[in-house]
C-alpha cells in the first residue's frame, strides 16, 4: 500500500471505470436489440443498471480517479487520511454498483426473494463512497 500511493489508486479507478463502461455499453446493446432476437426478458429490467454503469461507473468514477491524481496534494508530512478515503470511495462505489447490477434486476424479477435488502446495502455503499470521495477531495480544493 505504501509503494502504491495515489497513482495506484487512480489506476484502479480508471481500470474499474473502463470495465463498467464496457459492461454498460454491452447491456445497452442488449437493450437495443430488436424484438426478434433471443434476448431473455430479464435483460429488459436492466435499463437503470445501464444508465448507472455509464454515468456512475464510467463518468463519475473516471472523474474520481483523475481528480484524486490531478488536484494538488497535501504535503508528504500530512497524515494518510485522504488516501484511505480514496480507497474507501473506490471499494464502496464498485461494490455498490456491482451489487446493484445483480440485485436490481433480480429484485424486479422476484420481488419476494429477499433481494431488497441487498439493494439497500448497495445504496448505502454508493452513498458512503460519495461521502468518502468528497471528504478526500474537499481539503484539496479549499483555499489556503
Amino acid at each position: 500500500m505504501v509503494s502504491c500511493g495515489v497513482p495506484c489508486l487512480t489506476r484502479c479507478f480508471v481500470r474499474a471505470a473502463l470495465v463498467h463502461l464496457v459492461a454498460g455499453l454491452a447491456i445497452g446493446v442488449l437493450l437495443a436489440a430488436p424484438g426478434g432476437l433471443p434476448v431473455p426478458a430479464a435483460f429488459l429490467t436492466l435499463a437503470p443498471v445501464y444508465f448507472h454503469l455509464v454515468m456512475v461507473g464510467w463518468v463519475t468514477q473516471l472523474i474520481f480517479g483523475v481528480s484524486l491524481w490531478m488536484f494538488p496534494r497535501r504535503p508528504r508530512a500530512a497524515p494518510p487520511g485522504p488516501d484511505a478515503l480514496g480507497w474507501a470511495a473506490l471499494v464502496g462505489l464498485n461494490a455498490g454498483l456491482v451489487l446493484r447490477a445483480i440485485a436490481e434486476p433480480a429484485h424486479a424479477l422476484a420481488p419476494r426473494a429477499g433481494w431488497g435488502g441487498w439493494l439497500v446495502l448497495a445504496a448505502l455503499l454508493q452513498w458512503g463512497a460519495g461521502i468518502a470521495y468528497v471528504a478526500a477531495i474537499w481539503p484539496r480544493v479549499r483555499a489556503r
Binding site: V59, P72, R74, P75, H107, A123, W138, A143
Partner: protein
C-alpha cells in the same frame, strides 16, 4: 504564472507541487461537489426505497436526482476544470474576461435550483420554473462558450 493570476487565484493545497488555481474554478468545483453529494443522497434514497418495495413519495425527487447529477455535477465540474486548464490567451497569462464565467456560474446554479423547484411543485408556476431553469442552464453554457471559444482557437492555431 502572472501577477494578476496570483492576485485573483488561490492555492488549492499547501506544500511542494501545489498549483495556483483560479478562485472561480474553486467555486465551480466546490458547487459541483455539493451537487454530487446531493445527487448521491437522493439516488441512495431512491434505490433504498426500491429495495423496501415502496414506490413512495421519495420518487418525486427523481427529476432532482437527474438534474443534480448531469448538470450540477458533471457539467459544472467540466466547466470549472476547463476554465482552469484551457490554454491562456495568445502569448500571455490571461484567461480573458471572467465576467461571462461568473455569469455562467450563477446562471447554472440558479438554473439547477429553479428546475428542481419546478419539478417538486405542481401547477402552472412549476412548469414556468422548470422552463426558466432550463433556460438559465442554456444561458450558462452559452456564456461559458463565449469565454472558452477564443482560448480553444488560440490552442488550435498553435499560439
Amino acid at each position: 504564472m502572472g501577477r494578476g493570476d496570483r492576485v485573483r487565484g488561490r492555492d488549492l493545497a499547501a506544500g511542494p507541487g501545489s498549483l495556483s488555481v483560479p478562485r472561480l474554478a474553486c467555486w465551480f468545483v466546490r458547487a459541483a461537489l455539493v451537487d454530487l453529494l446531493a445527487a448521491f443522497t437522493v439516488g441512495a434514497l431512491l434505490l433504498a426505497d426500491k429495495g423496501v418495495g415502496g414506490r413512495g413519495a421519495v420518487w418525486a425527487l427523481f427529476p432532482a436526482h437527474v438534474e443534480l447529477a448531469l448538470v450540477g455535477w458533471v457539467i459544472q465540474l467540466a466547466m470549472g476544470v476547463a476554465f482552469w486548464v484551457l490554454p491562456r490567451l495568445a502569448g500571455g497569462t490571461s484567461r480573458g474576461p471572467e465576467g461571462p464565467v461568473w455569469a455562467a456560474f450563477w446562471l447554472l446554479n440558479g438554473g439547477v435550483l429553479l428546475a428542481i423547484t419546478g419539478s417538486l411543485t405542481g401547477g402552472g408556476p412549476a412548469g414556468l420554473a422548470r422552463l426558466a431553469g432550463r433556460g438559465a442552464e442554456l444561458a450558462a453554457v452559452a456564456a461559458f462558450a463565449v469565454h472558452a471559444w477564443p482560448r480553444v482557437r488560440a490552442a488550435a492555431s498553435g499560439v
